[in-house]
Amino acid sequence: MEEILTYAQAEPAGTVAYAPAGGLLGSVWLLVAIPLVSAAILLLLGRRADRWGHWLGVAAVGAAFVLGLTYFFQLRGLENKSVERSLWQFIAVGDFKVDFGMLFDPLAAVFVLLITGVGFLIHLYAVEYMAHDEGRRRFFAYFNLFVAAMLLLVLGNNYVMLYFGWEGVGLASYLLISFWYERPSAATAGKKAFLMNRVGDAGLAIGIFIMFATLGTTQYDEVFNGVGALAGGTVLALGLLLLLGATGKSGQFPLQAWLPDAMEGPTPVSALIHAATMVTAGVYLIARSNPIFSANSTLQLVVVSVGALTLLIGCVIGAAKDDIKRVLAWSTVSQIGYMFLGVGLGGAAYALAIVHLLAHGFFKANMFLGAGSVMHGMHDQVDIRRFGNLSKYMKVTWLTFMMGWLAIIGMFPFSGFFSKEPIIVAAFEREGWTAWLFGGAALLGAGLTAFYMTRLFVLTFHGPARWTEDIEHPHESPKLMTIPLILLAIGSVAAGFLLSTSVPDWLEATAGLGVQEKGHEAVLAHWLITTLSLLVTVLGAGLAWALFRNGTATAPQQAGVLVTAARRNLYVDAFNEAVFEKPGIFLTRALVFLDNRGVDGLVNGLAAAVGGGSGRLRRLQTGFVRSYATSILTGALLVVAAFLAVQAGWLA
C-alpha cells in the first residue's frame, strides 16, 4: 500500500506549447458564436419565431458541424496541431489575467465533431419529436445554448473558459431537464441535477482558485508547464478538486444520483446532453488535465477507483430498473465509469477512453433516440414490462436499436468491442494486485452490461406483447426520426473500428496528451482477455435471453436483497437523504431557531434595554432649570474630581 500512497512525482510531461491560430483557424470562435446567436434569436424573438425557429436551430448546429469539419481538415495539415487564438483579455485585475481565448487541438477537434455531428442528428430528430409541443422554439433555443456552451467548454484555452462553458452546459441542462416544468417530477429532477452539479462545480472552482494561488495563471499551457514545480500535496489537492468537478458533471460516484433523474427531460435531451456529450465533460476535463493527473500516481489511483466503482454501480442498478430511459441512464453512468477507468490508467489508455467516449456517443444516442421512438409509438409509456413484441411493428427502430445494443455490450465486430475491450486490457496492465482488482471489475462490468442491456432489448422488442389496454397497433416513427436513427446505427456498427485505428494516433499530436509510456505487461495474455470478455458478454446476454424470452410480470415482484437494493439505487438516495438532507434540514431549522431566539432575542433584548434606558434617562430631563443646574454642577464636580484624580495619579 505504501508505494501507492507516496506522492510520487512523475517526470514532467514535456513542454506544452501552442501555436497561434492563423488563416481559417483564426475564426474558430465562430463555432461557439453561431449556435449562441441562434439561441439568442430564438429566445428574443419569442412567438414570432415559432413557425421556423426549430429549423434555425437545426441549421445553426449543421453549420457548426460543417465548419468543424473544415477546421478539422485544416488542422490535419499542420505541423503543430495545437493552435490557439486569444480573442481579448477577459479579466485583468492586477496580476490576475484571464484570456478569452480558443484552443483548437486534436482533442478539441474530436469533441467538436462529436458535439456538432451527433448534435445535428439529434436536433433533426427533435424537430419531429417535439412537433406537438408548444414550447418547441424554446426547446431549440435551450438546445442551441447547450451546444454553444459545450463547444466553449472544449474550445477554451484556459480553465476559466472551461468553467464558463461548464456552467453554461449546467444551466442548459437544468433548463432542459425541467423543460416540462409543470410536472413536479421534472422540476424536482432539474433542481436535483443543479444542486448535485453545484457540489462538483464548487470543487472545480476551488481547483481553479488553487491554480491562481499557486501558479498565478489558468492558461492550459502555463499550468501544465508549471505543474511539475508544485508540491506533491498541492497537485493531489488540485487533482482531487478537479476530479470532484468531473464526477459531478459526469454522474460518477459519489455524485451519480442526479443523472438517472435527469431523464425527466425530453428524450432528445437525454440523448444529446445526458448520454452523448455533456456528461462526458468530466472525461474531457481529466483528459485535458492529463499533465496534472499524470503528475501524481495517487491521483490516478483515485480516478481509476472512481471509474471501476461507478461502472459496477451503474451495471447493478441498471439490471434492476424497469424504466427504459433509466436503464439507459444507468448504463451511461456505467460506460462513463469505463472512460474514467481509461483516463485514470493514464498513458496510452487516455486515448482509449476518448475512443470509447466517441463510440459511446454514437451508440448511446442511437439507443436513446430509439427509446424515444418506442415511446412515441407507445403513448409515452416507459415501462419495459409493458412493451414486448415490438420488433414486428417498429422494424427500423428495432434494427437500429439492435445495432446500439450489440455495440454497447461489446460484441464483435460492433463498435463497443473495439472501444471497450482495449480498456479492459489496459486495466489488466497495472502493477500487482490492482491489475486483478480493476481488470476484474472491468470484466465483470462487461458481463453485467451484456445481461441488463439484453434484458432491456428482449423485453422491449421480443416476447409476448404486454401492452396497456389503450394501445391497438404501435406505429413506426416518421422519417425525420428514423433517418437519424439509421445514421447513428451505422455509426454504432462502424465507428468503433474506425476510431480505434485512427484516433489514438491523431490524439498523440495533442500537446500534453498521449505521452506514450510503456505499460506494464498485462497479468493475463491479450488473447485470453479478449476471449474472456467475449465470453462473459455472451454468458450475460444468453442468461438474460433465457430469463426474459417469455416476457416478465407486469408488476414488481418480491426480490432478494441485492435486487431490492439495486431498485432503490443501492440506497444512495437514502444515504444522501440521511447524511446530507436530514442534517441539512436540521441545521437550517437550528439556525432559524438560533436566529429567531438567539440573535433576534439578543438584538431585541438590546433594543429593549436601550429603549428602557432611554425612557428612564428621559425622566432626568425634567424641564426645571434648577435640576439642570444641579446636573451641570454634578458634572462639573465630577470633571474637576477626575482631573485631580488624574493629576494625583489615582487613575494611572
Partner: protein, 517 residues
Amino acid sequence: MTELKLPSIDYAALSPILIMLGAALVGVLIEAFVPRRHRHLVQLLFALAAVLGALTMVVLNSDDRLLTAAGAIAIDGPTLFLQGAILILAAMALLLIGERSVERGGYFVAQAAVTAESVDDRRQAEGANGATEVYPLTTFAIGGMLIFVAANDLLTMFIALEVFSLPLYLLCALARRRRLLSQEAAMKYFLLGAYSSAFFLFGVALVYGFTAGVPGRSAGVDFATIHAAVGTSPASSVLLFAGIALLSIGLLFKAAAAPFHVWTPDVYQGAPTPVTGFMAACTKVAAFGALLRVFHVAFAGAAWDFTPVLGAVAVLTMLVGAVLAVTQTDIKRLLAYSSIANAGYLLVGVLAPSKDGLSGTMFYLAAYGFSVLAAFAVVTLVRDADGEATHLSRWAGLGRRSPFFAAVFTFILLAFAGIPLTSGFTSKFAVFAPALDAGQAWLVIAGVLTSMVLAFPYLRVVVMMWLSEPGESTPTVAVPGGLTAAALMIGVAATLILGVAPAPLLDLASGAAEFVR
C-alpha cells in the same frame, strides 16, 4: 511714567470680524432710521452683504498666519477655515431667518413685549410682520463667533463667548408661536449659560494663577504663556488641572456635551426653528473651534492628563445623545439629541492629537453644519394651521403627501446615520481614522456602537414617513419660498457632494490644520 505703547493691529486680518460687528451696529441704526415697511428687506440684504463681504475678506486673507492685537487674536489656518465655515453656514441660516412666505410675516414675533397668550399675541401671530431686530442680533452673534474661533487668550475668548451668547439668548425668545415655550427656552438658556460662563471665568482665574512664577515670563492668560507654563510653572498643578476642568466645562456647555447638554433639547425645541438651525450649525463650529485651540495650543503639554477625562466625556455624550434620541417624540428634540451625540463624535476628533485629527474635526464641523441646517429647513416646512407640526406622529405618511421633501429629509437622516455616499459617512471617517491612529480605539468603538443605536431613531422617522398611511392629522408641506429652497438645496447638495467627493474640502482643511503659537 512710561509711555503707553499701543499694540500694532493688522486691520486687514481682522476685517471679517470688524465687518460683522460694524454691520451689527449699522443694523441697529437701520432699525432706528429706515421705515418699517422697508426694514425687513434692507436688513436682510445688508446682513447677507456683510456676511458675504466678511467671507470675501476671509478668502483674501487665506494665506495669513499671524498673531495680532498684541497676541489676543490669532489669524491662522484653523481660524480662517472655521470663520469661513461659520460665515457660509450663517448665510444659510440668514436665508432661513429671512423667509417670510412660508409663515406669513416670518418666524419671529412682531413685538417681543406682547404678553404671551394674550389677545394681542394671538393677533400678532396671525400675520403681523416679525421683528427685524433679529438681523442685528444675528450679525452680532456671528461677529462674536468669528472672534471666538480666533481668540488667542482666555479673556478675549470669554468676551467673544458673551458677545455671541447674549444675542442668541434673545433670539431664542422671539418665536412667533408657542411663545411661552420660546421664552422659557430663552430663560433657561440664559440662566444656564451665565452659570457656565462663571465656571469658565473661574477656570481662567485658576490658570492665571498657575502661570505666575514662571522664570522670565509674566503671568498671563494668553495661550503662549499658558503653553510655556505647563510643565515649567512652579505653581501647584492642582491649579492647572482645576483650571482646565472649569474652562472646559464652559466650552463643553456651548458644545452641548454631556453632562452639560441638559439645556439643548429644551432650547432647540423652544427657539424659532431658523435660530435652532443657526445654533446647531454655527455655535457648534464656534465652540469646537475654541475647544480645538485651547486644547491643541494652550494645554497641548497636558494632553496625557486631559485626554482620558475628555474621552470619558465624549463617550458619555455619545451615549446620552444616542440613547435618549431613541424615545423622543418631537422632531426638534430628536435633532437636538442627535446634535448632542455629534458633539461626542467631534470630541473624538478633538482628542486625536494630530494634524489629521484637527483637519478631520474641521471637516466634520462644516459637513455637519450643512446637513443640520438642511434638516431644520425641512422642519420649518412641515406645518399646519398652528405652525410647525413637530410631533413625530404627525410625520407619519409624509412620504405619500410630499414625496420630494420626504425624500430630501430621508437623505439628510441617512447622512446623520453615517451611510456611505453622504457627508455623514466621510466626516465620521475623518474623525475616527485619526483617533484610531492615535491609539484611541475605545473612543472609536464607542462611536461606532452609538452610531448603530442612533441609526434607530433616524430610521424610525424614515419608516414612519414612507411606510405609514397618511392620517387625518398628517400636515401638509408648505411650498418653500426662494430663500428656504436655496438654503435647503445648498445643504442637501453639500451633504451629497461632501459624501461623494470630499477630497477638495478635506485638502483645504488639511492645508489649514496648523495653529500659530
